[in-house]
């Protein structure tokens, strides 16, 4: 399987759904993500501590939620597109052992003010389809043709 979505299937039209991506979280990934981001909070890698805090297993980091949604956006948009702005919110925790669906849709495409741009809505859903996190990304074609800062 290649990383990028088949360009032949790309439809940059508002309302088009991005092909969903399935992810299964595990303890090793949560530990590695905590390590590389220097996040020492025990709820992310200490099963006993996480359970004592009321979670059913170690909890995914907020930034991992964000990274998973951005991965879908990048896979779908292709190498020529870059993320300029992004916002997301965690609605409920995701745990080690959970299988998640990452999805999204095109919400807007290039307009006269910002040619070569588009906006996506993104989400992570749990096994029952419940929203775990939601986000929105603004992308531009070319290597940072328009700076977001």
């Amino acid at each position: 399987m290649t990383y990028w979505t088949d360009p032949g299937t790309l439809q940059r039209t508002p309302g088009v759904l991005l092909p969903p991506m399935t992810v299964r979280l595990d303890e090793v990934q949560l530990f590695q993500f905590a390590a590389v981001t220097w996040n020492a909070h025990r709820i992310h890698y200490d099963d006993g501590y996480a359970r004592a805090e009321g979670y059913r297993a170690p909890v995914a980091q907020m930034h991992l939620h964000g990274s998973l949604m951005l991965q879908l956006a990048q896979r779908w948009s292709g190498a020529e597109w870059s993320v300029l702005r992004y916002q997301y919110r965690v609605l409920r925790p995701a745990h080690a052992g959970d299988t998640l669906t990452v999805g999204g849709a095109v919400t807007d495409v290039a307009d006269r003010q910002w040619p070569g741009t588009m906006s996506l809505s993104l989400y992570i859903a749990g096994a029952a389809g419940e929203r775990i996190s939601v986000g929105a990304a603004f992308l531009a074609e070319g290597d940072y043709a328009v700076t977001g800062i």
């Binding site: 990383y3 590389v36 220097w38 930034h63 964000g66 951005l70 870059s82 997301y88 965690v90 977001g148």
Partner: protein, 163 residues
């Protein structure tokens, strides 16, 4: 329990007010291709453009980099987070649970290999909310990541939730 949590959260709010307007500068150190690839592996993101292009959340996800100018001296709270003299670390969070709530990011150019990144951090607000599960404190944090030439690589506005 609820009253106690409210009092603790009010203390956090007062502490945030005390440091309003202060900006903390932390040298995170050089960002290497290895850092990029480790982040990619931990994110399960095999993007073939890495490390030439950096993952958008590489810097915004960083809590630290392990070799800040001012080490915490090993002091930490029961939950593993550092209790130091930094703006966030100095908040009176004992007895409270903290989790990330949301993040808004504006991205600049890709992070050059070996760029020495500095983070400017400031606490920009606090709000106390009362929900069905009890009181909730929301600490707003702004982080700006700069390279050694002062170019903004990312500007992030985070909300940290305390309950």
């Amino acid at each position: 329990v609820s009253e106690s949590a409210s009092r603790r959260l009010e203390r956090v709010g007062a502490a945030v007010e005390l440091v309003a307007g202060r900006t903390e500068h932390t040298i995170l150190g050089p960002v290497s291709s290895r850092d990029v690839m480790r982040f990619a592996v931990a994110s399960s993101d095999p993007n073939p453009l890495y490390p030439a292009r950096t993952p958008p959340l590489l810097l915004p996800a960083l809590v630290g980099w392990g070799h800040q100018e001012r080490p915490s001296g090993g002091r930490q709270r029961a939950d593993g987070t550092p209790a130091d003299s930094s703006l966030l670390g100095s908040l009176p969070q004992e007895g409270l649970r903290s989790v990330g709530g949301s993040q808004a990011v504006r991205l600049g150019p890709p992070v050059p290999d070996q760029a020495v990144v500095t983070r400017e951090e400031s606490l920009t607000g606090f709000s106390l909310k009362h929900g069905r599960s009890g009181p909730l404190g929301v600490v707003a944090v702004r982080r700006v990541y700069l390279d050694e030439h002062g170019v903004a690589l990312a500007i992030c506005d985070d909300e940290m939730l305390l309950r």
